[in-house]
C-alpha cells in the first residue's frame, strides 16, 4: 500500500518536473494561429481592413476583434481560406472595406514627378526608389498594388495600371463552352 502510494507520487513528481521543464524549454512566444492567419492574407499591406498591415489584422482576427471578411485583395477565396482555418462560416466581403479587384501595380509618370519622397515614405513594402528632388520609380515586381502612395502625391503623378497578363504572364481563362475542342473525324 505504502509502496504503491510512493511510486505514484514519485511518478507524479517526475512527470510534473518533466512538463514544467518542457513548458520552459519549448515555450512559444507568439501565437501560432496568428502566423497561420497571416500566411493566408495577401500581404498587400494596404490597410483596407482598417489595420496598419496584414499582421496587425491577423492579430485582430485571432483576438476576435475583427471579422474575417475585411480583406478586399484576398477576396472570396481568401475569406474561404480563413473560414476553413478558423472553423467559421464564410461570408461575403464587407463592402465597407472595399471591392475585390484584379491585381494592379502603380506606375510613376516620371516627367511629372518632383521628387518629394512622400510616396517613398508611404510605401509599406519599400517598392519605390528615389531621393529628394530626384525622380522616383516603382519596382513593379515588388509593388503589391496597395495604392497607399496615391493620396500623399502632391502632383498626382502616380497611375494605377493593370498587372501584365499577356504572354508569358498569360493565364488560361476558366472554360466556358467547348469551342476549343478539335474532335477527330
Amino acid at each position: 500500500m505504502l509502496i504503491s502510494v510512493l511510486i505514484i507520487s514519485l511518478l507524479g513528481v517526475a512527470f510534473g518536473l518533466g512538463l514544467g521543464w518542457a513548458a520552459l524549454r519549448f515555450r512559444v512566444d507568439s501565437d501560432p494561429v496568428v502566423e497561420r492567419i497571416d500566411a493566408l492574407l495577401p500581404q498587400t499591406q494596404c490597410g483596407q481592413c482598417g489595420f496598419p498591415g496584414c499582421r496587425p489584422y491577423a492579430e485582430a482576427i485571432s483576438r476576435e476583434e475583427a471579422d474575417i471578411n475585411q480583406c478586399p485583395p484576398g477576396g472570396d477565396a481568401g475569406i474561404r481560406a480563413l473560414a476553413d482555418l478558423l472553423g467559421r462560416e464564410p461570408k461575403p466581403l464587407n463592402p465597407e472595406n472595399g471591392e475585390e479587384t484584379s491585381k494592379t501595380v502603380v506606375l510613376i509618370d516620371e516627367s511629372r514627378c518632383i521628387g518629394c519622397t512622400l510616396c517613398i515614405q508611404a510605401c509599406p513594402v519599400d517598392a519605390i526608389v528615389g531621393a529628394a528632388k530626384l525622380m522616383h520609380t516603382v519596382i513593379a515586381s515588388e509593388c503589391t498594388g496597395c495604392d497607399l502612395c496615391l493620396p500623399p502625391c502632391p502632383v498626382d503623378c502616380i497611375d494605377i495600371v493593370k498587372a501584365e497578363t499577356r504572354p508569358p504572364r498569360w493565364q488560361r481563362p476558366r472554360p466556358q463552352i467547348a469551342l476549343d475542342r478539335v474532335p477527330l473525324p
Binding site: 499577356r166 508569358p168 488560361r172
Partner: protein
C-alpha cells in the same frame, strides 16, 4: 526516391518493350502529307520573328529598326533561355506587336524583317573539333545557336543537357515517336536526314557523357528504320540502337516513352534525369548536329501543313517568321470547306485566331480542319462518372475527380489528386460521353496552381519587405528617442553645471560682499 535497382533497370532501356496505362489507338492521317519530298518554300515578302518562342521571358531585341541583318545573326537574347536569330538577310523594318503563334491568341513583340533576297549568311563558327571539345563548350555553343526542344515544349536544349550531364545521364533517348495524328514532320526528317540525326545523337551523347543512344520510332515507320540504320553515320557509330515501339497515343510523351522502354515511371515531382535518362526530339538532334558541326543557328524547322482543309498537304522546311498563310498558299491554298486552322495536332493543338501568325520553334504542324472534321460543339452534359477517362489516362489520374475539384476551385485537393501530373494529351476529352472539355479544365487548373504559387511567393516577399521596413522604422524611432534622452540628459547636465557655476559665482560674490565690510571693520578697528 529512385533506388539503385531502378537505375539499373533504366540502364537496360529498350531491351524489352513494356506498356503504359491507357492511351488510345487513333487513325493516323499521316500518309497524306508524306507524298512529296520536303522543300523550302520561296522566301516570303516579310518575316515576323516573335521574341517569345520559349518557355520563359520575352527576349530583348539586339537590333534596331533600319538595321541590316545577316542570315543567322542573333537578334534576340534572354538569359537563361536560348537565343533568337534572323532567318534571312535583310532590313529590320519594325519591332512591333504582331500576331504570334500562342494559345492565348494575343499579339506579341516581333522583329519584322524584309528579306533582301541575297541570303547572305554570317560567318559560321562550327566546333569542328567537337570530338575533343569539353561538354561545357558544346553546351555553351548550343545556347548561342538558339537550340530548343523541337518536339513542342521548346525547352532550351542547353539547360536540359546541362542538367542531364550534372546528373550522370547514362542513356540518351531520341524521341521519333510522333504519335499524334496528322503530324509527319519528324518522320520526314528521319527519312531524309538520318545522318544528321545520328551525328546530333553523338554530339548530344558526348555533351551528356552518356554511354548509349536509343532512337525510338513507331512500329509503322518501316522506311524510317531502314533510313536510319542504312546511313553511313550509323555504320560508324557504336551503341546507337533504333527501337520500334507500338503506335499508341500518347506514346510520344516523354514519360510514356520512358515507361515503354524501361517499364519504369518517372516520379511526378521528378525528371527523367533522376533515372539517368534524357529525352530529346529527333529534330532537336538534327539541329544540334547543324549547330555544332556546321555552326548554323536554329532558324528553320520541318513543318507539316496538312488536314482536309488543305489542297495539297505536305511538309516544308520553313524559316521561323514565315506566316502560316504563306505556307498554306504554297500548298495550293485552303479547300472551300475549311473551318479552322490549328497549330499542333488534333489532340493537343490550339486553334489559331489569324493565319498571319508566324512559324516558330514550337510549330510542328499546321492543321486545317473542315466543317466535316469538326463535329458541332455538343452541349456539355453532367459527368455520369462512367470512369472511361480514368481508363484511358496515361498518367493514371482520375480526370472526373480532378474536374470536380477544379470546377469548385478546390486547388489543394486538385493538387492532391495529381493535377500537375496531367500531360494534357486529351485522351479523357476524346472518350468523354458527356462532352466535358476536361483538358481545358485541367489547363485552367494548372494555370491557377502556377498563379497561386507565384502569388504566394510575391506575398512572402511583401511580408519580408514589410517586416524589414517595420523593423527599420522602429530602429530609427528608438535611435531618435535615445538621442533625445541623451540630449536631454546633456542639457540637464549643463543646467546642473551652470547651477554649480552660478552657485560658485554666488559664493564668490557673497564672499566679496561679506569681506569688504570685514575689511572696513578691520580698517575701522585700525583707525
Amino acid at each position: 526516391m529512385i533506388t539503385s535497382q531502378q537505375v539499373a533497370l533504366a540502364k537496360e532501356a529498350g531491351k524489352r518493350i513494356h506498356h503504359f496505362h491507357g492511351g488510345l489507338r487513333l487513325r493516323h492521317h499521316k500518309k497524306i502529307s508524306c507524298q512529296v519530298p520536303v522543300e523550302r518554300p520561296p522566301l516570303p515578302d516579310l518575316l515576323a520573328v516573335p521574341l517569345l518562342q520559349h518557355a520563359g521571358d520575352i527576349s530583348e531585341p539586339l537590333v534596331h529598326v533600319g538595321d541590316v541583318v545577316l542570315k543567322g545573326q542573333q537578334i534576340g537574347q534572354c538569359q537563361p533561355c536560348a537565343a533568337v536569330h534572323s532567318p534571312v538577310s535583310g532590313i529590320v523594318e519594325a519591332i512591333e506587336e504582331r500576331p504570334m503563334s500562342h494559345p492565348s491568341g494575343q499579339p506579341g513583340p516581333c522583329v519584322v524583317i524584309r528579306p533582301d533576297g541575297k541570303e547572305q549568311w554570317i560567318d559560321f563558327k562550327p566546333l569542328s573539333d567537337w570530338l575533343d571539345a569539353s561538354p561545357d563548350r558544346l553546351i555553351a555553343h548550343m545556347q548561342n545557336c538558339g537550340l530548343a526542344g523541337l518536339g513542342g515544349a521548346v525547352f532550351p536544349t542547353h539547360a536540359k543537357v546541362r542538367d542531364g550531364r550534372d546528373r550522370n545521364t547514362h542513356t540518351l533517348i531520341l524521341n521519333g515517336v510522333e504519335c499524334e495524328p496528322y503530324i509527319s514532320c519528324d518522320e520526314m526528317l528521319m527519312r531524309e536526314q538520318p545522318g544528321k540525326i545520328i551525328l546530333g545523337a553523338r554530339v548530344l551523347r558526348r555533351s551528356l557523357g552518356a554511354e548509349r543512344v536509343i532512337i525510338a520510332i513507331e512500329d509503322q515507320m518501316g522506311a524510317v528504320q531502314k533510313a536510319l540504320t542504312g546511313c553511313a553515320e550509323f555504320a560508324d557509330s557504336e551503341n546507337i540502337s533504333v527501337i520500334k515501339v507500338p503506335t499508341i497515343y500518347p506514346e510520344g510523351g516523354e514519360r510514356q516513352l520512358i515507361q515503354v522502354l524501361t517499364g519504369l515511371e518517372v516520379p511526378v515531382d521528378g525528371r527523367p534525369s533522376d533515372l539517368g535518362l534524357l529525352c530529346q526530339n529527333v529534330a532537336t538532334a538534327a539541329a544540334v548536329a547543324e549547330a555544332i558541326t556546321e555552326g548554323k543557328p536554329l532558324i528553320d524547322r520541318y513543318v507539316t501543313v496538312t488536314g482536309n482543309g488543305i489542297s495539297h498537304p505536305r511538309n516544308f522546311k520553313a524559316l521561323f517568321g514565315t506566316s502560316v498563310s504563306h505556307l498554306v498558299d504554297q500548298c495550293g491554298g485552303y479547300t472551300d470547306d475549311v473551318a479552322r486552322v490549328v497549330i499542333g495536332g488534333p489532340m493537343m493543338g490550339y486553334p489559331l485566331s489569324s493565319d498571319d501568325a508566324p512559324v516558330v520553334k514550337a510549330s510542328n504542324c499546321i492543321l486545317a480542319l473542315t466543317h466535316a472534321d469538326i463535329a458541332d460543339p455538343q452541349p456539355e452534359m453532367p459527368c455520369i462518372r462512367c470512369g472511361e477517362c480514368a481508363r484511358v489516362c496515361p498518367a493514371m489520374l482520375l480526370p472526373q475527380q480532378l474536374h470536380l475539384h477544379i470546377k469548385n476551385e478546390l486547388w489543394d485537393s486538385a493538387q492532391a489528386y495529381g493535377l500537375t501530373a496531367c500531360i494534357e494529351c486529351g485522351c479523357c476529352d476524346f472518350v468523354c460521353p458527356s462532352h466535358i472539355p476536361l483538358v481545358d479544365w485541367f489547363r485552367f487548373g494548372k494555370g491557377a496552381l502556377r498563379r497561386r504559387a507565384l502569388e504566394n511567393e510575391a506575398a512572402e516577399l511583401a511580408r519580408k519587405r514589410f517586416e524589414n521596413r517595420e523593423a527599420r522604422l522602429l530602429r530609427i524611432k528608438q535611435e531618435r528617442a535615445g538621442k533625445m534622452t541623451r540630449r536631454k540628459q546633456l542639457l540637464k547636465d549643463k543646467a546642473v553645471q551652470q547651477d554649480r557655476i552660478r552657485a560658485s559665482i554666488q559664493r564668490a560674490e557673497n564672499k566679496g560682499r561679506t569681506k569688504p565690510p570685514g575689511q572696513s571693520s578691520g580698517a575701522g578697528d585700525d583707525t
